[in-house]
Assembly symmetry: none
Homo-oligomer: 474 residues x 2
Amino acid sequence: MANKAFRYEQVVAKIEDTIVSLNLKAGDKVPSVRKVSNDLNFSLTTIFTAYSILEARGLIISRPRSGYYINAATKSSGNATSPDKYIPLPVDVEISTMATTMMKNALEHGVINFSILAPVNEFLPITRLNKAVQASLKELNSNNFQYPLVEGHPRLLKQIARSSFDWNKIISQNEILVTNGAMEAINLCLEAVTQKGDIVAIESPSYQGLMQSLESKGLKALEISIDPLTGLDLEKLEAALTENNVAACVFSPALNNPIGCSMPEKNKIRLVKMLNEKNIPLIEDDTLGELAFLNSRLRPAKAYDDFDNVMYCSSFSKSLAPGFRIGWVIPGKYYAKVAKLKFEANTSTNGLLQDAIGRYLESGHFDTHLKGLRKTLQKQVSKYISAVNGYFPTNVKATLPAGGYSLWVELPKNIDGVDFQRRALKKGIGICPGHIFSTSSSFHNFIRINCCPLFNNKIDNAIKSLGQILFELQ
Amino acid sequence: MANKAFRYEQVVAKIEDTIVSLNLKAGDKVPSVRKVSNDLNFSLTTIFTAYSILEARGLIISRPRSGYYINAATKSSGNATSPDKYIPLPVDVEISTMATTMMKNALEHGVINFSILAPVNEFLPITRLNKAVQASLKELNSNNFQYPLVEGHPRLLKQIARSSFDWNKIISQNEILVTNGAMEAINLCLEAVTQKGDIVAIESPSYQGLMQSLESKGLKALEISIDPLTGLDLEKLEAALTENNVAACVFSPALNNPIGCSMPEKNKIRLVKMLNEKNIPLIEDDTLGELAFLNSRLRPAKAYDDFDNVMYCSSFSKSLAPGFRIGWVIPGKYYAKVAKLKFEANTSTNGLLQDAIGRYLESGHFDTHLKGLRKTLQKQVSKYISAVNGYFPTNVKATLPAGGYSLWVELPKNIDGVDFQRRALKKGIGICPGHIFSTSSSFHNFIRINCCPLFNNKIDNAIKSLGQILFELQ
């Protein structure tokens, strides 16, 4: 099985080389399956499977009775307007207001949610989690109604510690602190190692919550551009760190949000070493790291941290239950400082749901769940990509993610993401403008589409409607 | 399952053999999980579990980021007398460390808890709360596993709004934000209206969590002494406000912690008016306001706030479930700012337990529960006072509280609260030294005794032991 996957990867790589050597561009026809089969000396089936992988990744698309093309597209046809029941978006882009408004629209007003990165119930192991909560409730004499320890519930801490074995790293439960989600973890790390006015290096684009947090704490963002395939450019980073007095870095080496790219292992190793040498703490946001489109998770930078210099942050919000608000931090040598700040912020994190997640993890179902979720997400994303390729104008480019929920879509330069968002909202569709993923205006013509709602006819039509708006805006 | 346990026992035995063969002594480092995994040819998970079993048995202890060590307390040669299992208190009084250590001692090491203000299970409506959580779980199609709105769960917000009728005030649910406990509410308020270096007026003594928070945010405390019967002295406050440029006040007009005093209604009215005229926001910590020894709750200052200048903070931690970590804030005219900060801090508060508390409140049992709890607490406190009066030297004075859980006890000037605390801890009794309720040393000869454990012979004996220590210290 593993051999087979490996074999396909080799074939896929060879086909990619062929495409590069032919200098093919968007819309160009790809050599036929038969031709490639002859040229590379692989069976038709093998080449067909490899092409399907490339299609799932969005690099190529198939057209009935015509063949495969480089990331090209077609047009669409009519659809009517919708009621104006949604909360209008502010004209001045203000990230916090925009984010809460998007959440309100998605949760309260039934807007088709491509905006908030929140797994729908169908992606979550709700029945098993329910049972776990019930088991926690049954222990009437337990401490589940009492103040939990600031570090977290021992049952959960132990299971989180165990999960680090997946990285081939041993983290002891004494190194972990449970938080109210990953954002709280990141905030505590920032508070521990920065002061107002400090410079913080971040990926560009980066998760919008981070941007808000930096703004609110009076920290300056130093944006390091990333490659859609290999993530952070370490040369650029090194140059930026030499020129600036950077207090901390906040990166997502395993899987970036919104692009969904992942750094090669050797780059992660170099990154961890470089930051340790410069004595700059790396705050690692690994919220999506478990959700790569592979058989197992991608290793975080923390896996290579022999220096206790990585402050690892993650949560169960994208894999188990966003509403439980349970995340954690492994702050390395900054443990004591972060623990103190957590205690001061809100004493500790609710104990009952920590206990319940701990029980769920003990049951051993999480691995199976994650494997299923990764496959589901990969299928979802590939359906969304097909729809986007089918309905959006040909000058729109969707980046292929290595995992997660999101599609990062580049629009023609003359189309503004916020304008697009406003028009989409009028049709009851929520999308995320690129503006909120950077402090600069670099991504004004980008949008993020979360592939959260289960793909069906309604979603297909919604993407068709988005395509129509784009044709109108051209 | 049985097989699995058996297998662990075998592994545990093998590790014990290894330790014996290495002739390891107390304090020596135990071979790493990875090394033992290699040597004995078991998986990392198995060895980790075996080590956890050995740790639970007290043979080894783990140290963060260091590894496992032979536990000093468990020498094979005979069992010592007093099991020094409690975590020693730091010699330099550092409020945060002290507070977390007290919590650890109370929760993990079975210390008789007069230190942490946490209602025991017997004071909580656990069965009804359990049912409420179960009802929340049953709604499989609900949004209880999804991100809650930053403001809070509508069901809970509605019930909190309704509770303001008790103050003869109408608060709409749109004025309320749910938080992870009252401390988070107070922190958000401080962040909304102060900047590093600002002066904040507080009661002296005040809740230790507030002191930590001020220190951490780089805020200066202006301590206003309070009268054990009537609370804040408004003349002194007015003078202090004239002399200092105060950015905010944090007071508990309905019921102070640790003294348990309450301001007369006319003083609350004057306080609210005075601070509004001076345009200084009043952050009101009303965590204990519901627990006066009366038939109904005491009105908070917010009840008299016609100016939207009071930022009201409270929680269910002292009345329903400390471990649920559910509190709220009514930030008045600072609502938008506080909402933004809450969203940035941790997105929102866990939804399932909000829903459950909302259901519990809807059932109408909360009022009955509170009436019962007030009576229970009054009885408890009076029994504790009798014991204190019976066993402590006559030059010790306990202040009679108007409500809540705590006894504020003044010792002779020559007795230091921290010294007393350390000696009490050796006998397995946790108390709270006065130091942590002030930034000054005004209360070095005070202690707070929380009447949390149900009064019985064991408690009576514990208070007797405290009395003995005091006689020794005289």
